[in-house]
Assembly symmetry: none
Homo-oligomer: 270 residues x 2
């Protein structure tokens, strides 16, 4: 049915109420605009008659979504808009949002995917989406990863405030001294601190973190952070498997992971 003659005017889609659609367009415009504006300016921006916009604004003001400054003044977003947004934010739980999408990522990449958050002891797995071809591993929910020698950890490391990770980094440096294998794939440089710094740099640039099969023999992984408004990693998604493509940042799989994290990151901000 969708057919032909909707073309007359894009029918705003189905089932809605026209006046409400129009009113919400006004609200969106007001939100997009830099700051407070007068009725006529807003009307011009929305390409609507002034009186129409004025009446919409009157209703918005009653609801507190908009407030008008001064006496016969300009209009701007109001307290209710703020509350509304904060309610929305409070309900949006990243872990759940990402979890819902994780199945999709598993399907696209064919890899087992997991979702980690930052906890006291470091990156911690909180969700686990297994692929048709399962990976035999010894870790499951609640496992914590190292910062330097896991893809997940590296993603956190590169996108977290230094103060947050430095205690753990210190510990891992000590461990790495005894077992240099752990950081074998780090960029080469003179001191270990330099190598770690370069790793952080490169990971930030690439936006994806990689480990090849050296840490756990044969197991490769590719991780990308989901950033909050401050650019910090709230959670990290990781694809693991034996496919060599995982350890190539330019592979299709890695790109899928990257795109996934980009999309969800942008939902976090605004």
């Amino acid at each position: 049915m969708s057919d032909a003659q909707d073309t007359k005017l894009s029918h705003e889609a189905s089932g809605g109420i026209q006046s409400l659609d129009a009113a919400l367009r006004v609200l969106q415009h007001l939100a997009t605009l830099p700051g407070a504006v007068g009725v006529s300016e807003l009307a011009r921006a929305c390409d609507m008659p002034v009186s129409k916009v004025h009446r919409y604004l009157a209703s918005f003001v009653h609801a507190g979504l908009v407030q008008q400054n001064g006496r016969s003044g300009t209009y701007d977003l109001g307290l209710a808009a703020q509350s509304l947004g904060l309610s929305a934010l409070a309900r949006r739980d990243i872990v759940n949002t990402v979890s819902d999408e994780l199945v999709e990522l598993t399907r696209e990449t064919g890899c087992t995917t997991l979702l980690s958050v930052w906890a006291d002891l470091g990156p911690t797995v909180v969700r686990w989406q297994r692929a048709p071809a399962p990976v035999i591993t010894s870790f499951g929910l609640g496992t914590t990863f190292p910062l330097l020698s896991s893809a997940t950890g590296r993603a956190f490391f590169a996108h977290s405030p230094p103060e947050l990770v430095s205690p753990l980094i210190a510990r891992e440096k000590r461990r790495a001294k005894q077992n240099p294998l752990l950081i074998e794939d780090l960029p080469s440089a003179h001191t270990m601190d330099e190598r770690i710094d370069i790793l952080r740099q490169k990971t930030r640039e690439a936006q994806v973190a990689i480990v090849d099969g050296r840490f756990i023999p044969g197991l490769r992984a590719c991780a990308a952070p989901i950033l909050n408004w401050q650019g910090e990693a709230d959670v990290v998604v990781t694809a693991i498997g034996t496919d060599p493509a995982l350890s190539d940042p330019r592979s299709e799989t890695a790109q899928k992971v990257l795109e996934f994290s980009r999309r969800l990151s942008s939902e976090q901000q605004s």
Copy 2:
């Protein structure tokens, strides 16, 4: 025509658009409700016909203010609502100013710090700066705090007009009756109202609000308001952590918080 029979139901005020007023009432209800709801439940809450609400929701969904979960799913606030609120926040220069300084306060105190504003569900977190010291933070942007049993809430309570806070106070009094632990650290007096009054007094005098680990075991916090020209709290800054110094008003940490709020309060003139 205007008058006379308006008394039947207050005429939503002047100049607006009835259908829009109704629609916004639906949106407000959705925001107030705990979480996602079905159409009929929402319709019941608004005392409106189901089909009406459904059509409003359709328009809200088009605008992205609302999204529906699942296939025959329930409705909840959407991404556009989030954006709207963030836009509204971004226009309050006090929020921006304080946010910028918050890193500094985190560095000075070594505690995780947060910035809260007043929304209609109460004190609401809008920014937070994590500190290295691991605090188990189950809250994020949009989390709301109680008025009586949190440091942030107490700071708002002591520096807000009574009309603003009284509805919430009433609710919390009821809750406190069932769980006296929540206000265990209140000053002692005969009636609960007296205790609350004294709390308000003392908090105003001290300019900082404190909770020790009783509300959330082991978690202490220290909060101070940033006052506008009327002496009301526009926003509140809070330092949280496990350090016992936080619950001592004379500690260095508490003084840092106080000084911070004093400085920014005085910077706010216009």
